[in-house]
Symmetry: C2
Subunit: 224 residues, 2 copies
Amino acid sequence: MNVLIVYWHPEPASFNAAMLRTAQKTLLAQGHDVQTSDLGAQSFNPVSGRHNFTLAANAEYFKQQHEEQHAVEQHCFSDDVAAELEKLAWCDLLLFQFPLCWFAMPAMVKGWIDRIFVYQQTYCQEARYECGRFTDKQALLAVTTGDPKCMYEPDGAHGDMLGVLKPIHRGVLAMTGFQVLPPFIAYEPAELSEQERIVLLDQYQSRLENITRDTPLSIPPFKN
Amino acid sequence: MNVLIVYWHPEPASFNAAMLRTAQKTLLAQGHDVQTSDLGAQSFNPVSGRHNFTLAANAEYFKQQHEEQHAVEQHCFSDDVAAELEKLAWCDLLLFQFPLCWFAMPAMVKGWIDRIFVYQQTYCQEARYECGRFTDKQALLAVTTGDPKCMYEPDGAHGDMLGVLKPIHRGVLAMTGFQVLPPFIAYEPAELSEQERIVLLDQYQSRLENITRDTPLSIPPFKN
């Protein structure tokens, strides 16, 4: 498989960074090809705008979808967007590695979606959910939390984790056709001992060693 | 009431910008005080990191919550974060105006949350949900969509809108104690006629004229 890892964390010695290295090493050892978009290292700009494009379809009024359609036809994406679009097209598995921030992607990762999931190439009116562009691709969220697992149970304070992740799983990934694999959640690594963290990384490694045998989540209603 | 409007849209002539102007005008006419964080105009940086602070608690290992706690005690937030924290403390109503992007806040608005909802000042282990810091404040999402209302019904392709907004309503706003008012959703303004857009802005104006009589949503389970 071709695997694209989209990663962000502000601390290079973080548990997220350790998960990234575990994924890179494990997937390569399994014979997969791996590319990483390390958004912090790339100084990726997460804010969408006219700078996504080198030419404008309409210089008077900026509508992102119109500009994206124009840029797909005219090949006029900015270099940073074009590079990520190429990696996205290349991958069979899209793996996100980030700390869950306020029940969602941190701004940097959200900005990668906002700028790279372009109209026409990633989705259009007719190409969504089971008719999506990416039905031959899989996606996996690997995230860390600051709170314990019990708070993300159905009767926990935050509600169940799959509910928390639903806008990402359904609205970003299933919407564009991805087969969404069950997420790998590392609960509150900051509270774990060194030994417990190693066990958790080992579990992540085992999960990735068997990733090709994973069963995707069923995300209803999958209709257009 | 003191109202803080947090706004982002890349096009100054957008319907989002018209909603912003409607809100500013209407709320002022009702005798409220209004401040606006126009994140694009401010060139707000949505990415969190060491630049949030002028001094470091730990220069070796960056953990945002620890640095935030230190900055609350030592008053060493960067100027841009400090200015937003002051506006957040000042407001009785926090009003977000943005286009719903991929079932979530656009990166710019998400980055405002990531950087400004700081540990200790906005929440801590003991101060969450009904024990949150902001139980005397209200919050309102005013958003636009690209898809029609029928796609955001419970049996629509995207699932019901309150489910889509739940991570924001519950995980960001209720989590920090806010009373969450029912959102104002402007469905696919890009597909409306000029006349229909004016009607929609009138509806928004009426809603805001009666905002002090609104009943907050009930967001279970509201327990710590």
